[in-house]
């Protein structure tokens, strides 16, 4: 009987993988459902086991079973791993994803699983923490805080009860790495959490998954059941979110697990000292925890050898939006933005010129192609007025209206604000209103300079909308002040980072805001 491998990943299924799989079952094949390899232009991907190894075909339609089995299908890809998109990657974390049966304990063990845990458990907790520190691993959720130092704080915190919490509330637009890993290699995350538990002395862990990730929830729950004996005495459970983006913020996430309104806590106290239920808590992103089994099994050096500056190891970059080769690309830090977008991503899917990319989700900055030599590195991005975040890259072609994108950033913040702090709660709504005024004012022509700017007309007790200066210039100045208040006044990153997309759009694309275009790059 012919054995074929077809992804059951949510993205593959969305592209028709279930129907294709059924067709192969109907044709008498043994179908193994894997995770996704991570290149969506070739999904649904079918890999046929042959004497020469797995031969890939993709995309494949449900009525094309015969030609695939014949080897005559026009989309024959050969060895998938040898495709340039995959050959260029350094898959530390996603090494098994798309290859193994996600819920096969045997497959996991056969592909190097549990080695990291066994090594960790044979060492004392401090040694494990030291290894993670030496690897240079930094929080993959966005903040980039050194994981080993966080673990050290929890290890050193007094308390009989400690927790490991995995943040799988992956809410950034254009990101899907957490989901892919949980669906494609759930034991990897479980192993990472078990290692963390050993390192800090925790007995129980939670995986907080957003409610939209129904497949991941189901896969993780099954995987936890299957591996319970392997990770004992450490225990794990899945908690499902309720649709709030802000619950991806670590303290709001903790409140949500505790059954409270998902609202950001003020820090201090740090979750590492007083986290879940007031106990010392490691809270890490899926990708941080999933990087740990490799670090333990291959050694800190193998991980730290890869990277750039203070950003060590690999980053599973997610290419999305208007991009030709959308998918997951795990690579060492230091690759440039241009390489990622143009070389790996192959430019836009529409074929039009790239005008902007947004890196780091809805709160990330927009970059014009003039900044494409920026290396993928936490510090370099910070310096350039942006952030890596969860390493989602969303590509836009030249039809994008950046004023609308700035408005969207404010609107996103308004929709997702928890409502606790004032800059975010009120500021985001005011930001939308300012953007509406700017957008209204730039078309058809600049507002005539009427007598709207006198001091009396701006009196505090005025209720007339006419009494404020609605010219694009005044509104843009107000927008900058608002962004300043939000950036430095907000309680958490939602309000604090919303100014990144807004200001980067304004700075790099002023012509979309009714102002003159910037001086061409020649001036550089």
């Amino acid at each position: 009987m012919t054995r074929v491998f077809i992804s059951a990943d949510m993205a593959s299924v969305a592209l028709g993988a279930d129907q294709v799989a059924q067709a192969f079952v109907d044709a008498g094949c043994e179908v193994v459902r894997t995770g996704s390899r991570g290149l969506f232009s070739i999904e649904p991907l079918v890999e046929v086991e042959t004497a020469d190894g797995r031969i890939g075909y993709g995309p494949v339609a449900a009525d094309e079973v015969r030609t695939v089995l014949d080897g005559a299908h026009p989309n024959r890809l050969g060895d998938v791993a040898a495709l340039p998109f995959f050959a260029a990657q350094q898959r530390f974390t996603f090494a098994r994803c798309g290859i193994v049966d996600p819920l096969s304990m045997a497959d996991y063990a056969a592909h190097g699983g549990w080695t990291g845990l066994d090594i960790a458990r044979s060492a004392d907790p401090q040694a494990v923490v030291d290894t993670v520190k030496a690897s240079g691993l930094r929080g993959r959720g966005g903040a980039g805080f050194p994981t080993g130092i966080k673990w050290q704080t929890v290890l050193d915190a007094p308390g009989a009860e400690k927790y490991i919490v995995c943040n799988a509330d992956e809410g950034d637009s254009g990101t899907f790495a957490d989901r892919m890993l949980m669906e494609g290699d759930p034991f990897c995350l479980i192993e990472g959490m078990a290692i963390a538990a050993h390192a800090v002395g925790a007995g129980h862990g939670y995986i907080y998954i957003r409610s939209e990730y129904a497949f991941a929830v189901e896969t993780m729950r099954k995987a936890i059941e299957l591996s319970a004996a392997r990770i004992a005495p450490f225990t794990l459970e899945v908690r499902v979110g309720a649709g709030a983006y802000v619950c991806g913020e670590e303290t709001a996430l903790l409140d949500s697990i505790e059954g409270k309104r998902g609202q950001v806590r003020a820090k201090p106290p740090l979750p590492a000292l007083a986290g879940l239920f007031g106990r010392p808590t490691v809270i890490n992103n899926v990708l941080s925890l999933a990087a740990v089994p490799f670090i333990l099994s291959a050694g800190a050096e193998a991980y730290a050898d890869v990277g750039f500056g203070r950003s060590r190891g690999t980053m599973p970059v997610q290419l999305a939006g208007n991009v030709k080769n959308g998918g997951l690309f795990e690579v060492g830090f230091g690759i440039t933005l241009g390489e990622l977008v143009n070389d790996i991503g192959g430019g836009t899917a529409s074929g039009r010129p790239v005008r902007a990319v947004q890196v780091g989700g809805p709160l990330g900055a927009y970059f014009p192609p003039s900044m494409f030599d920026l290396p993928f590195d936490y510090e370099a991005f910070t310096q350039a007025g942006g952030l890596i975040g969860h390493a989602g890259i969303t590509v836009f072609d030249d039809s994008v209206d950046m004023a609308h994108m700035a408005r969207f950033a404010m609107e996103f913040c308004a929709v997702e604000s928890c409502g606790k702090c004032t800059p975010c709660r009120i500021g985001s709504t005011r930001g939308v209103e300012i953007m509406d005024r700017i957008i209204a004012a730039r078309i058809p022509e600049p507002a005539p300079p009427t007598a709207r700017t006198g001091t009396l007309e701006k009196a505090l007790y005025s209720r007339s909308p006419d009494r404020i200066d609605v010219s694009p210039g005044a509104q843009t100045a107000l927008l900058r002040d608002l962004c300043d208040t939000m950036k430095y006044g907000s309680l958490c990153a939602l309000g604090g980072f919303t100014p990144y997309p807004v200001l980067s759009a304004l700075d790099h694309f002023p012509e979309d805001f009714g102002a003159p275009a910037p001086i061409p790059q020649a001036a550089e």
């Binding site: 003020a266 308004a414 004032t422 985001s428 505090l460 009494r467 404020i468």
Partner: protein, 947 residues
């Protein structure tokens, strides 16, 4: 005192660690305890950092973002409320950059706030307004055509405060106050982002939500969103006077905020050591009775109780009363008259009434309403420990690890202290409740009792002795404590007694109804759970074995060493505001002030020399004895100050017969109460707002009552007693209550150090306050018991004679409810009736179904003493076989049902156990109809002839 607001340091004090840190704030070096917030540190050293969401009675929250500061070496602008101080930290609170940020935040606030300051009720008393000024906001560039939260409907359902969500700034202070301070969790923030709103319960209005109207949210609100209706009507206050609440024994202190002679609002005083800035619906809001139209402001007399009242001058009323009392004494003997002091009046007034009786009447026929509530506490604790009072201060509960609550319903009867208890329980303290009913404390948000022992009414002694059995037989006693502090032989006698198999939980379970395993677990927890504190109420004392129960409680505390330090102790929760004080002041027929027996020659000699008369060495009559003597024809006249014995005392028929048999009943009260329907002289009383004096609360704390307005009736109560004493020929010349306190201090060793100057300077003193304890005594019996060795007393369980049977198969127990106080004379004359317009009979669904009773049906309630009707409330809060009602409404007359059984030692009535039958009813009982007619006739008033 003029009107100044209390300083709010923004965050609570740090938990004491004993370590200090030094930092620099705006260039000034500051040393403060570790854990203090930057905001508090700045405030304590005179720098007010702008803030809106912070308040020093709430944990820091960090939402308003006005309090941002700069810290050298730290990125960004941390919120000063959530950032603790650290050694060497350099903080700047006022820079141009901070001004810019704060103005930016304030601009956002004001962009969603109505600009109706001039017509807003909080104008001049609004933190938002103040902070807008403080940050220098001059312009709102966002305009006013954007989205707002304005225009939402007001919620005016609560009778005392309005909720106007249009003015809300979503600071969550109200929600946090409800959670952290009150512990009711009635409020929540609903929705998110710009739509975040305060919501009582799940989108209900305040009145129909779980809100208990404690006022904490109103106090916390920095705008006019939650504001007292009275402020809306009257305007903001212009002066404030600190005084003490006249409701329950918690003794909350309040700022009476006044506009001229008009009381605008009562706001709990943060410095108050009993209430720590918290309040309940009664003290905070239910003071309107003081101006109620029912108040009687002119003296009245009549020759018989079937005549209408005749208004007379004060001179005539006083002269008439003195004449009548002297006539009766001439005719029937010196002991034919007596008096009752009031637990609602001040220490000074109470002292004067008993002095008038002992010195002027020449007998010891004085008693007080403590007779019917905590007299067993006096007897029991005096016998075992040597003093008649609770052993702790209220703060002690914050160090308790286990609370044993017996026969008390703190969330209803002592709500402000209950909030402290709940706070401690939320911190992890364990809870045991011994009560026939499922009181709220057993399960409320974030509080759950570890053990509820639902005993059958009347079996307290059996339950407590069974707990002792477990503690002794399982060797959980604190032998070192007992050997050091108690009489070892007495302990052994007691231990032998409780160890007998007949006292075991298993043996007594059939009669107590408490499962043995549950009782054993509770006893183990009490004995081994760390600091264990007992809190008890009238469910302990108002039984035929009330005094035995108090002693059984004392035995438990001594056996486990839970006495003599913070966090432990035996704590009677006193019912009335000054019931402790009334007892302290010599209101009992056998005791002078300070609990010295009248047969004690030294004590008597001291008073005889001070008062210049010979005093009787024989104890006088107790209230029930006075009534018995009246029906026997030997007791003919009584002076009753501030107590309504017809409604509050048991067996109403007997009380009525006793009063009707007297020739001169003098009632001094605010209203024509039920007792006044049997009176011949009515002397209008003054409210606590109209006089100076002191109250002593349940923790022995003596606090000042201060006059905030002139007495509407013309005289403070102490002045009226002085007028009467003078008319009786006594040479009294007090010009101020402080002089009375000076006399009390001179004549009472435990009060020797009490003086108004000290009370004014220190806020309060807990007696004993004397040379041995110059700063007063928060915790008693620290190094030794007042009586020397603690005394274990054998408490044999004796079932009450009040037994159920075929005619009366149910047990009635009585109590009170949050919104009403005692006989309801005050609270029924306020909007508190919105919550509890009538007394209801709680009955278990099974008992109701057996009788065909549906919720809300009128039912008759019968005992061998009498019959009344009221409406049924079907609930599983009571066990099958037990029914429960309150006694707040005279129409119900719950005490028609209660019997004249009483405590063997003190005659405290057995209110808590009456065998009754319940059945469907068509209307009021004959007694209710007759009484209503009598009351109507009796309350007729003929105005004073044209003046």
């Amino acid at each position: 005192m003029t009107f100044t607001r209390e300083t709010d340091h923004g965050t609570p004090p740090a938990l004491a660690t004993g370590r200090n840190v030094t930092l620099t704030i705006d260039g000034e070096a500051v040393t403060l305890p570790e854990g203090t917030s930057i905001m508090r540190a700045a405030s304590l050293t005179g720098t007010a950092i702008p803030k809106l969401c912070a308040s020093d009675n709430l944990e820091s929250f960090g939402s308003c973002r006005l309090c941002l500061v700069e810290i050298e070496g730290r990125a960004g602008y941390p919120a000063s409320c959530t950032t603790p101080i650290a050694e060497g930290m350099v903080v700047r609170t006022q820079t141009d950059r901070l001004k810019q940020l704060r103005r930016g935040v304030m601009e956002l606030y004001i962009s969603d706030h109505p600009l109706d300051c001039l017509t807003c009720a909080a104008n001049g008393d609004c933190e938002l307004q103040d902070q807008a000024g403080a940050v220098g906001l001059r312009d709102v560039r966002y305009g006013y055509d954007g989205a707002t939260n304005m225009g939402q409907p007001k919620d005016q359902s609560n009778p005392y405060f309005d909720f106007d969500p249009s003015k809300c700034i979503a600071c969550s202070r109200c929600v946090r106050a409800c959670d952290e301070v009150q512990g009711t969790f009635a409020l929540t923030m609903e929705g998110r982002g710009f739509d975040t709103k305060v919501s009582p319960s799940q989108g209900q209005d305040f009145l129909s939500s779980e809100c208990v109207s404690c006022g904490a949210c109103v106090q916390a609100c920095p705008t006019a969103t939650l504001i007292e209706k009275k402020v809306v009507e009257t305007g903001t206050p212009d002066r404030a006077v600190v005084t003490t609440c006249a409701y329950c024994g918690v003794g909350c202190t309040f700022r009476a905020e006044m506009r001229g002679q008009e009381l605008v609002r009562m706001v709990p005083w943060k410095e108050g050591k009993a209430n720590r800035g918290h309040s309940c619906v009664k003290g905070r809001f239910a003071w309107g009775y003081a101006q109620h139209q029912d108040r009687i402001l002119k003296p009245m007399i009549r020759s018989s109780i079937d005549q209408p009242w005749r208004e007379v001058s004060w001179d005539e009323a006083i002269a008439h009363t003195a004449r009548e009392f002297r006539r009766i004494q001439d005719q029937y003997g010196a002991r034919a008259i007596g008096g009752i002091t009031s637990s609602r009046c001040t220490n000074e007034e109470t002292f004067l009434v008993q002095k008038m009786i002992r010195q002027g009447f020449g007998n010891n026929n004085v008693d007080t309403c403590a007779r019917v509530c905590h007299s067993p506490t006096g007897y029991g604790l005096k016998t075992t420990f040597g003093t008649s009072a609770g052993t702790q201060d209220f703060d002690s509960v914050m160090q308790a690890d286990v609370m044993l609550v017996i026969g008390a319903n703190p969330t209803d009867a002592h709500p402000v202290f209950a909030s402290r208890m709940k706070k401690r329980l939320r911190q992890g303290a364990r809870l045991i409740v011994v009560d026939p009913r499922r009181i709220d404390l057993i399960r409320s948000p974030h509080v759950e009792a570890d053990h509820h022992l639902p005993l059958r009414p009347g079996t307290n002694v059996a339950v407590l002795t069974a707990m002792a059995h477990v503690i002794v037989t399982e060797k959980l006693c604190d032998e070192a404590f007992i050997r050091a502090r108690c009489d070892w032989d007495e302990f052994q006698d007691w231990a032998d007694f409780v160890s007998e198999p007949a006292r075991s939980p298993e043996a007594t379970a059939p009669l107590t109804g408490v499962p043995a395993e549950e009782l054993r677990a509770a006893a183990r927890l009490y004995a081994t759970g760390g600091n264990a504190a007992i809190y008890y109420g009238l469910g302990v004392t108002e039984h035929s074995q009330g005094s035995s129960t108090v002693m059984a409680i004392a035995n438990l505390a001594m056996a486990t060493g839970n006495i003599g330090r913070p966090g432990v102790g035996v704590n009677p929760l006193r019912g009335q505001n000054n019931v402790q004080g009334a007892c302290d002041m010599g209101s009992f027929p056998h005791e002078f002030s300070g609990y010295r027996h009248v047969s004690d020659d030294d004590a008597r000699a001291m008073f005889e020399s001070a008062w210049g008369v010979k005093l009787d060495s024989e104890p006088g009559l107790r209230i029930p004895n006075m009534l018995d003597a009246a029906t026997d024809g030997t007791f003919k006249g009584i002076f009753i100050q501030g107590e309504d014995i017809l409604q509050s005392d048991p067996n109403t028929h007997h009380v009525a017969a006793g009063l009707a048999a007297m020739e001169c009943v003098v009632v001094q009260d605010l209203f024509l109460n039920e007792t006044a329907n049997y009176a011949h002289v009515f002397l209008p009383g003054s409210t606590f707002l109209e006089k100076d004096g002191t109250f002593t609360n349940a923790e022995r704390r003596i606090q000042r009552v201060r006059k905030v307005m002139a007495p509407l009736n013309g005289h403070a109560d102490w002045e009226i007693v002085q007028l009467l004493a003078q008319a009786l020929g006594l040479d009294w010349k007090y010009s101020h209550p402080s002089e009375i306190m000076d006399e009390i201090a001179a004549l009472t060793p435990t009060f020797a150090g009490v003086h108004y100057d000290r009370l004014d300077a220190e806020g309060s003193l807990q007696w004993p306050a004397n040379e041995a304890a110059p700063d007063g005594t928060p915790t008693m019996h620290i190094d030794g018991f007042v009586r020397g060795k603690g005394k274990f007393v054998v408490t044999d369980y004796v079932a009450t004679d009040e037994k159920t049977g075929p005619r009366f198969p149910l047990l009635l127990t009585t109590g009170r409810i949050l919104s009403h106080y005692n006989v309801g004379a005050q609270t029924r004359r306020t909007a508190n009736t919105a919550w509890h317009p009538e007394d209801r009979l709680e009955i278990h669904p099974v008992d109701a179904e057996n009788r065909g009773i549906k919720d809300g049906d009128w039912v008759s309630l019968r005992s061998r003493a009498g019959e009344t009707t009221l409406r049924a409330l079907i609930t599983e809060r009571v066990a099958p076989g037990v029914v429960y009602t309150t006694f707040h409404h005279p129409d119900t007359q719950a005490n028609v049902i209660t019997t004249d059984y009483s405590d063997w030692a003190t005659n405290c009535p057995e209110y808590k156990v009456t065998a009754v039958q319940v059945g469907l009813s068509n209307g009021p009982s004959d007694w209710q109809e007759d009484y209503a007619e009598h009351a109507r006739q009796s309350r007729r008033i003929i105005p004073e002839a044209a003046e």
